[in-house]
């Protein structure tokens, strides 16, 4: 688990080596109980609301701001909102109307930049998470269920990618790709991100493979494919879903970090990572609002996803009651 990489880390709440406890066949009641428990968990409710709001920014930014994606005026750049505490640098102390969060390095409205920036950040995180889950689950199930040489090959390949330090790997891949579109970032994050999911699902599949209900299905002549899909997968689903919520959060942070390193998304795309990366140099040299607002949004969003994952895990873990 690499400390530098937000992606490999945050999910570390569930360590790769943690043996996943085999559960009996999933009954509807686990999910029903979980739903019941979650709906009464204030943390989960608040976090879901945050996520909903952010997702609505990503889907319908126009609902939240009347300004276009890049309506900027560099003559008022880096100006903090009038209510913002602290001393302002001379020349940047204009008393702006209508800029509740001030302006960015390039003189765009910080508020609308944050709204518009949600889409790439969320799109990257969601697509990468989905792809990672797909690839990781498939390989993990196959490796864990079949074992033998299939497992060995998949595990060794996993080792190669796990051993590649996440950030360095991303920097290398993105530098070599030389394209820095949103798709390149997604591709690289998936290429480097599938390993953990694979290991965890493999562990689950491994522990489920020899359980009685699987043996029973096998005895009744079910094909391997059917056993994997109908018996193993449903039982592995809970940890996968929990991991996914954590992944979404950490991929949002990963996008920001890559952008900071200069290998992530690029203007004129608007993303939180770009806003933070563009603002952070100046932020620590006298323009704190450039960092404060986008960071708060980023942190609250990531936090919401991770806490949601936590709550989900607690709800799905029968031992936690």
């Amino acid at each position: 688990m690499s400390s530098s990489s937000p992606v490999t880390e945050a999910p570390g709440a569930i360590p790769p080596e943690t043996p996943v406890r085999g559960r009996g066949p999933t009954s509807g009641s686990i999910w029903k109980d979980a739903r019941h428990q979650l709906s009464r968990n204030p943390v989960f409710v608040v976090c879901s609301l945050v996520v909903l709001v952010v997702v609505s920014w990503a889907l319908f930014p126009q609902l939240w701001t009347s300004l276009g994606k890049l309506e900027c005026d560099i003559n008022i750049n880096r100006t903090p909102p009038s209510w913002f505490p602290g001393k302002t640098q001379p020349g940047y102390d204009a008393d702006l109307d209508g800029y509740v969060l001030g302006t960015t390095t390039l003189g765009c409205d910080m508020y609308s930049q944050i709204i518009w920036g949600a889409r790439p950040s969320i799109v990257v995180a969601v697509i990468v998470t989905a792809m990672t889950a797909l690839v990781g689950t498939t390989l993990g199930l196959v490796a864990g269920y079949y074992g033998g040489w299939v497992d060995t090959v998949i595990s060794r390949i996993t080792d190669i990618f796990l051993g590649l330090p996440f950030l360095l790997g991303a920097v290398i891949f993105l530098a070599l790709l030389k394209s820095q579109s949103i798709w390149a970032v997604i591709l690289v994050l998936v290429v480097l991100g599938w390993t953990q999911m694979t290991r965890i699902v493999r562990g689950t599949a491994l522990s489920l493979r020899d359980q009685d209900f699987v043996e029973a299905a096998r005895a009744m002549g079910a094909t391997n494919g059917r056993i994997i899909l109908r018996h193993i997968l449903p039982n592995a689903l809970a940890p996968i879903i929990v991991l996914c919520t954590i992944y979404v959060g950490s991929f949002i942070a990963a996008e920001a970090t890559l952008t900071f390193l200069g290998v992530g998304l690029k203007p004129p795309e608007v993303s939180w990572g770009i806003t933070i990366a563009q603002g952070q140099d100046f932020a620590v040299a006298g323009f704190p609002h450039l960092l404060v607002f986008p960071c708060i949004v980023l942190v609250v969003t990531v936090l919401s996803f991770i806490l949601m994952g936590d709550a989900l895990r607690d709800a799905l873990d029968p031992k936690g009651r």
């Binding site: 080596e17 051993g163 070599l176 970090t257």
Partner: protein, 333 residues
């Protein structure tokens, strides 16, 4: 266990060769599609072709297959690996042997990693224990929220803020009040080669922050589970002191997955130091690789990254072996 270790060690070979080839192919493709990085050394102006040729040759980038897009240059790869076996890892664009660069950078990164591991383990486990013992109370919530916070705030923000707060504000305050060079080094802005440990303390805290959060959360979860376990109840029935029950009986069991996590983290920390090293001007491995990626100094990428993979592999092997030591129920055949 010996045979198990040997088998695992043997499995390193395909993984390492795989890593090397992956990197080789990526850098080859980059050369083929992006052009000769030597050219960029001279910027806008076109130097005489023989100069480019001489430099390209000196850097070992003169293989004709590099001008055939898509060609994986297997011959070149074999040659390279052969060179590695002879201890020849090539030179960088300043004609410095890559081995020199690594021997200079590795100890620094190693120190940083060590400090980070000590920091994240001690503080992380402590925070996790406090949270676990005070489940759902203030201390627990504080630890939970703050650990998620360090996980979710981008490391570069944490790093720069730490540098400014500790290095500049607190640092200036300290410098006004102490003559102690060690204290000054601890609160210095950047790495001081005269104080190779002290000046790495604060950077190591930044580096370890993310893992600290994970370790704390994991310790907490494991401890809560452990405290509910039968053997802790037995320990209580044995009339042991609470400190002993938690510190020996419960914690010893929780530590198994936590140690795993820390072990796997070693590899990640060494490379993950990239951003921390950049912020605190620490001349370590992360910066070296980052530079080489930017300039296209293939020999550095090709030597350092597999090295990091190797560190990761060794760390995870050690962890697995340690696992067996910590948990007597596990046996490796």
């Amino acid at each position: 266990m010996g045979r198990y270790a040997v088998r695992r060690l043997l499995q390193f070979i395909p993984v390492l060769i795989g890593t090397l080839f992956l990197l080789h192919y990526l850098t080859t493709l980059s050369f083929q599609f992006n052009g000769n990085p030597v050219r960029a050394l001279f910027g806008d102006r076109q130097p005489p072709p023989e100069t480019i040729a001489a430099l390209t040759r000196a850097f070992g980038l003169d293989d004709p297959c590099l001008s055939q897009p898509g060609n994986p240059c297997v011959g070149m790869f074999v040659e390279r690996v052969g060179g590695y076996l002879r201890g020849d890892f090539g030179v960088d664009f300043n004609l410095q042997p890559v081995t020199d660069l690594i021997t200079r950078a590795a100890p620094v990164t190693l120190r940083l990693t060590l400090l980070a591991i000590v920091f994240e383990s001690v503080v992380g486990i402590l925070a996790g224990v406090i949270a676990g013992l005070r489940k759902e109370r203030f201390a627990d919530n504080l630890v939970r929220i703050s650990t998620v916070l360090v996980i979710s705030v981008p490391i570069f923000v944490v790093g720069v803020l730490t540098q400014i707060i500790f290095g500049l504000y607190i640092g200036n305050w300290v410098r006004d009040r102490t003559e102690s060079e060690t204290m000054e080094a601890i609160f210095s802005i950047s790495y001081q080669s005269d104080h190779p440990w002290a000046s790495l303390i604060i950077p190591s805290m930044v580096l370890g922050a993310t893992s600290l959060g994970i370790i704390a959360r994991m310790t907490r979860t494991e401890l809560i589970e452990s405290l509910r376990s039968d053997y802790v109840r037995t320990a209580r029935a044995k009339g042991l002191k609470p400190t002993r029950i938690v510190g020996i009986h419960a914690l010893r069991n929780c530590l198994i997955p936590v140690v795993t996590l820390i072990g796997i983290d070693i590899g990640g920390l060494m490379a993950g130091a990239l951003i921390t090293e950049g912020i605190f001007n620490i001349p370590g491995i992360g910066g070296l690789v980052f530079r080489s990626v930017r300039t296209g100094e293939t020999p550095i990428i090709m030597a350092v990254v597999p090295l990091l993979v190797l560190v990761y592999l060794i760390a995870s092997l050690l962890v697995d072996l340690l696992y067996a030591v910590l948990d007597p129920r596990i046996r490796y055949e």
